[in-house]
């Protein structure tokens, strides 16, 4: 479904990402872990079009999306979230959702100026769908609040809801549990699990190892930009290279 070949990116003298080959299968829940600075977020930036790679190719459903614009990648069904939540602060929660649910045609200047009835119908459909999702995420009571008034966890939920309203095929979650209290983390995990059950391919970067081991079908470990381990959680947990990367080798 998502294939990456020889993807490399350097920042000055630092090798941020250096991945030979990796493929993400359809409908699999994959976690990417690794110490700080291992290149996880850069990897996301590269495959979602936010950063241009030095070399390498990315294929989404056999289609070359290397260096495509982020919006075009998102339209092809691969949507990402951000490590630091990026909600639209000075817009209401429902506006956040509906903006995401709306498409370019619906947003057009011409249609908006003419107040076409097709647009109105569209808007109603989008609003319904938005409320459905917000109910599932338990933020529907906040619909008319400004997004800046939400708690950190609720913002994470809003960002998640916003990214699934267009039924993406692949979801890239950058630390969906960061800064979230344990109870809400549990909730978000079960939502992610549910999305995965619904057939969305999920790739997530997360530091909470326990959570990762619990829900992932596959765990990829990055260190200094390269894949050092890859497999089911059990296998990865016992891999000596992983232990070394996390705990440091004795002779350093």
């Amino acid at each position: 479904m998502l294939k990456v070949h020889n993807l490399r990116k350097r920042f000055g003298g630092v090798k941020a990402v250096d991945i030979d080959n990796i493929t993400f299968e359809q409908n699999q829940l994959t976690s990417i872990i690794g110490p700080n600075g291992a290149g996880k977020t850069t990897f996301f930036d590269l495959i979602s079009g936010f950063t241009e790679g030095d070399e390498g190719k990315v294929f989404l459903n056999e289609k070359n999306i290397t260096n495509s614009q982020p919006f075009s990648i998102a339209r092809q069904g691969m949507v990402r979230t951000f490590q630091l939540t990026k909600v639209f602060d000075r817009m209401t929660v429902i506006e956040n959702m509906m903006f995401s649910g709306s498409n370019t045609k619906n947003d057009s200047l011409f249609r908006s100026l003419m107040k076409l009835s097709t647009q109105k119908n569209n808007e109603n459909l989008i609003r319904e769908k938005a409320f459905e999702i917000m109910k599932d995420l338990n933020i529907d009571h906040m619909a008319d609040s400004y997004a800046r008034e939400l708690s950190g966890g609720q913002k994470k939920l809003l960002e998640l809801g916003r990214s699934i309203i267009n039924d993406p095929k692949i979801l890239l979650l950058d630390e969906p549990l960061a800064g979230v209290n344990p109870k809400l983390a549990e909730e978000i995990l079960s939502i992610i699990q549910k999305l995965s059950d619904q057939g969305i391919t999920i790739i997530m970067v997360e530091h909470n190892i326990e959570a990762v081991m619990k829900i992932s079908e596959r765990v990829v470990v990055l260190a200094e930009g390269s894949v050092i381990a890859d497999g089911n959680p059990e296998k990865v947990r016992k891999d000596p290279k992983v232990i070394e990367a996390y705990l440091g080798s004795g002779n350093e």
Partner: protein
């Protein structure tokens, strides 16, 4: 409070002018209408989309120059007369479109820049525009400007306005420009209200909030910003045309950066992001600009004209400072959508 301040400032005009307060009031309202219109355009850029545009004067200038060069006029050192041309309204439409296209032209390379960088580029572009216009004397009249163009607009002046002006000893030509600018404000606001409450307006606000998130959600943020840039530039172009007709002659010096900063002050006074805010901001601004000399004359009896002229800018600055402290969202801005976070938390 807004209504109070506005009526209060208009009342001030009557107190301070024993002779012909109406004439002064309508002169002031004409300027307020024109600058208010420009501020509404700027609010599309900054209030709605978050674009820091410091080149607003050039959009006004493009609209004015293109329109005036298309209608009969006289230009340059010799006052070379061009007596054929379009009638006013088609020329106005082309002028507005030209301003919007100038916005596109400037936006294509510049709009990818963020925040302050865009501000620098726009202010430079506006100066380039002004200097080009000044030096292309054969086309634009250069420093000698364009004159004798008012007739194209004044032939449409309605009878009732002439009668009204005669009765109260007002300048009917200026009244006509003022009336048209306020009618334009009305129409533009109706259109903008539609747009800001629409999915398009929502998309622009999303761009204002977080461009990366917009891109990550499958929307072309650059195209949205360009559209906003063109729309605001077109509105500024319209204001520029009225400004030229109000002066009766067109000079390059009209479009110095100071014009841009006046428009910014008006927008901030009225409320960033508020649709009708710039109107009130503009009226109050112009009362201060045109009446403070008289007010200061009462206080500082021995001051000369030059010193008095400085006082108004002190007052505008003071007002903006007070406003930023007590009402940072401006007179009509929504507190929840405050853009100028002066008190960083």
């Amino acid at each position: 409070m807004t209504i109070f301040l506005t009526t209060g400032s208009i009342y001030l005009v009557f107190i301070l002018n024993e002779e012909g307060p109406l004439r002064i009031l309508f002169n002031l309202l004409t300027f307020a209408g024109i600058y208010g219109l420009a501020a509404i355009g700027l609010n599309v850029h900054f209030g709605l989309t978050g674009l820091l545009n410091f080149g607003h004067a050039s959009f006004m200038g493009v609209g004015a120059y293109v329109t005036l060069l298309l209608i009969p006029h006289a230009a340059g050192r010799e006052g070379e007369i061009t007596d054929t041309g379009l009638t006013f309204f088609p020329a106005l439409v082309i002028g507005i479109i030209a301003a919007a296209l100038f916005g596109l032209l400037l936006g294509l390379p510049a709009i990818r820049l963020r925040g302050d960088y865009l501000a620098i580029v726009t202010i430079a572009a506006a100066e380039i525009f002004r200097l080009l216009v000044r030096d292309l004397e054969s086309v634009t009249g250069g420093v000698y400007g364009i004159i004798n163009f008012s007739e194209s607009l004044q032939i449409y002046k309605p009878e009732f306005l002439i009668n009204f002006s005669e009765r109260f000893e007002l300048n009917s030509s200026q009244m006509w420009v003022g009336l048209l600018s306020w009618i334009s404000i009305f129409i533009v606001l109706i259109l903008l209200r539609r747009l800001t409450n629409s999915p398009w307006g929502r998309a622009l606000r999303a761009v204002r909030e977080d461009e990366d998130a917009v891109r990550a959600l499958g929307k072309n943020a650059i195209w949205l910003k360009l559209q906003s840039f063109m729309l605001g530039a077109g509105i500024a172009g319209l204001a520029g045309v009225f400004l030229a007709f109000n002066y009766g002659s067109l000079q390059t010096t009209t479009f110095v950066p100071l014009l841009t900063f006046y428009v910014w002050a008006i927008m901030i006074l009225g409320g960033v992001g508020s649709l009708t805010g710039p109107i009130f901001g503009s009226i109050i601004f112009w009362v201060i600009i045109s009446e403070t000399d008289r007010l200061a004359q009462l206080i500082f009896e021995n001051a000369n004209g030059q010193q008095l002229a400085g006082v108004r800018f002190i007052l505008v600055g003071l007002l903006i400072m007070l406003l930023m402290i007590f009402r940072p969202s401006g007179l009509l801005g929504k507190k929840e959508e405050l853009l100028l976070d002066v008190k960083s938390s």
